[in-house]
């Protein structure tokens, strides 16, 4: 079975002449959790917009489930790839939350019962069912995090195979980020392939199976989260180490290789370094 999403030597230039993508090739398998990282203006958003045919390749190819995206099949392929935009105000517009989530399924031409079921499921999944008759479009009606969840529900309701999110954690409070991660975990459980563009290195390190690092419209590197602790690469891409990795880096005598990248890895590494008795003492001091 081929990759679910394939990009082959993709170039894209905006009409004002800005070359946003300069030869991107990548492939993403079914059920992968992919984080795309890179500095501002690296081309992340532009690349994501190619994934569901909002922009068509000017040169090169983008294939979804083996099928190249063209003018003729873009609508059908858009049902496979759902896109959550960075700013929920761009996405959410109907008179009520319920109507907004129904917008996608309606465009898919589903029947009424199916639509109602989908909207119910999607709003349940993001925990917004109780607010279904609120008006989403205006500053005072829903909080930013709530709007974001409505935007995600609007995509879940279309039941796509791939869900693409542009900077999903930006501007969310810690609780909001937490609940977003839960939603993503839930979607992953249901077998969705999830692609996010983000600046949040810690989140990428915790969450992703695969990271793609972009700069100047080119791929600097792609691979697993080990990439996030490669000195030159990280510096090159204007990123930083995950916080937990930084802790280990600060103490030269603490030679742990590979550098831990997630909280769990760090906790394990520390636990193995501690002699048994000392660990217990520590606990006593803390409590």
């Amino acid at each position: 079975m081929g990759a679910l999403l394939e990009v082959e030597d993709l170039y894209f230039r905006y009409h004002d002449g800005t070359p946003a993508l300069n030869g991107i090739s990548l492939s993403i398998d079914r059920g992968e959790k992919v984080a795309i990282l890179g500095p501002n203006g690296a081309g992340k958003s532009t690349l994501l917009l190619h994934f569901n045919g909002i922009y068509l390749a000017q040169q090169g190819k983008v294939r979804v489930a083996g099928e190249e995206i063209t003018r003729d099949n873009e609508t059908r392929l858009r049902e496979k790839v759902g896109m959550v935009f960075q700013d929920p105000d761009d996405q959410v517009f109907s008179p009520t939350v319920w109507d907004d989530v129904a917008f996608g399924p309606l465009n898919q031409g589903l029947d009424r019962k199916e639509i109602e079921e989908r909207v119910f499921q999607a709003l349940q999944a993001v925990d917004m069912w109780d607010l279904r008759s609120r008006a989403p479009h205006h500053l005072s009606h829903l909080s930013y995090g709530q709007k974001k969840r409505v935007a995600i529900a609007g995509v879940i309701a279309m039941n796509p195979e791939v869900i693409v999110l542009d900077e999903p954690t930006a501007f969310l409070d810690p609780a909001g980020q937490e609940s977003l991660m839960e939603i993503l975990a839930e979607l992953y459980q249901r077998g969705k392939t999830i692609i996010i563009a983000t600046h949040d290195v810690d989140m990428a390190a915790e969450w992703a199976d695969k990271v793609i690092i972009l700069k100047g419209g080119k791929i600097l590197a792609q691979g697993d989260t080990m990439l996030l602790v490669q000195d030159t690469l990280v510096k090159d891409a204007g990123l930083r180490f995950p916080v937990v990795s930084q802790v280990f880096q600060r103490i030269p005598s603490l030679v742990v290789r590979p550098l831990p990248r997630t909280v769990d890895e760090a906790a394990n590494a520390i636990a193995t370094l501690l002699p048994d008795r000392k660990e217990k003492d520590n606990h006593r001091i803390v409590s």
Binding site: M83, D87, D90, G109, V155
Partner: protein, 270 residues
């Protein structure tokens, strides 16, 4: 300005005869009614029209307070009409204002003409309110499409409205940002600084809303929007819709007959 919010379909989901009225029949009948009402020429005909449009509004369970508020825009119109039109029309004088070189005459005929003009406006507004307040916006658009209104017009309406909210939010944000840096708006509109700031604001607003408009459109495309307006509601024209529609038109025709002096009404009033 901060708290003001605009809720589109606020009353569109109430229950009443007019809410349940098939939107397409409703639109067509009310359009016919509108044409009739604005072509009425006499006070008698217009008063009759006002009577039945008001009754229709009552029957639609819309909150009267909000409707009156919405009608607020006709008040300055009324004042202006009563103030100026009677001076412009020759006819039986009510009073005269001597102005040295010439005399202004406030004419009875002019006053009557303003009343007619005003009533037309009022009835027309009531009919439009009736349709727009009792029909959810997307249903209205869908019905227009069903009635063969070219898609391009419908999309124009749809996006104008969509972008209106976008623009509105953008303006609020921009003013807020400016206020945060202690800009004092419009103590005197013609003060140079206010003026140039306003100009800059407008330019920025245009660029920002253009960019945002594009993103909004992309987001719609991403969810499978293909230019067609789809709604959940299944429309069907029942005999009761036709009956209601017919009675509206009969009322309109009745007002027209009264207006044109049929059945000796005119003599009766004179």
């Amino acid at each position: 300005m901060e708290q003001a919010h605009i809720h589109l379909d606020e009353f569109a989901r109430l229950k009443s005869l007019f809410h349940q009225f098939d939107p397409r029949v409703k639109i067509v009948c009310c359009l016919i009614l509108l044409v009739i009402v604005v072509s009425l020429r006499t006070l008698a005909g217009l008063l009759f029209a006002l009577l039945f449009t008001s009754l229709m509004i009552f029957g639609s369970h819309l909150p009267l307070g909000r409707i009156l508020k919405r009608l607020g825009f006709v008040v300055p119109m009324l004042v202006a009409l009563c103030l100026f039109l009677p001076f412009a029309r020759p006819g039986t004088p009510v009073f005269k204002v001597p102005l040295g070189l010439f005399t202004l005459t406030y004419s009875w005929d002019g006053l009557q003409a303003s009343a007619i003009f005003f009533l037309r406006l009022l009835c027309g507004a009531l009919i439009v309110i009736l349709v727009t307040f009792t029909t959810p916006f997307h249903v209205l658009l869908r019905s227009l499409a069903d009635l063969q209104v070219p898609l391009i017009f419908i999309q124009l309406i749809q996006f104008t409205l969509r972008y209106f909210f976008v623009l509105y939010d953008e303006v609020i944000r921009m003013f807020r940002a400016r206020r945060a840096r202690n800009f004092k708006p419009a103590r005197n509109f013609w003060c140079g600084r206010t003026f140039s700031t306003l100009g800059g604001l407008l330019g920025l607003l245009f660029i920002r809303s253009y960019e945002r408009g594009e993103r909004v459109y992309h987001a719609m495309l991403a969810r499978g929007f293909q230019g067609e307006i789809r709604v959940l509601e299944q429309f069907q024209v029942y005999p009761r819709d036709l009956l209601l529609g017919m009675s509206l038109i009969v009322l309109g025709v009745l007002s027209l007959i009264i207006d044109r002096g049929g059945w000796g009404w005119a003599h009766f009033l004179r």
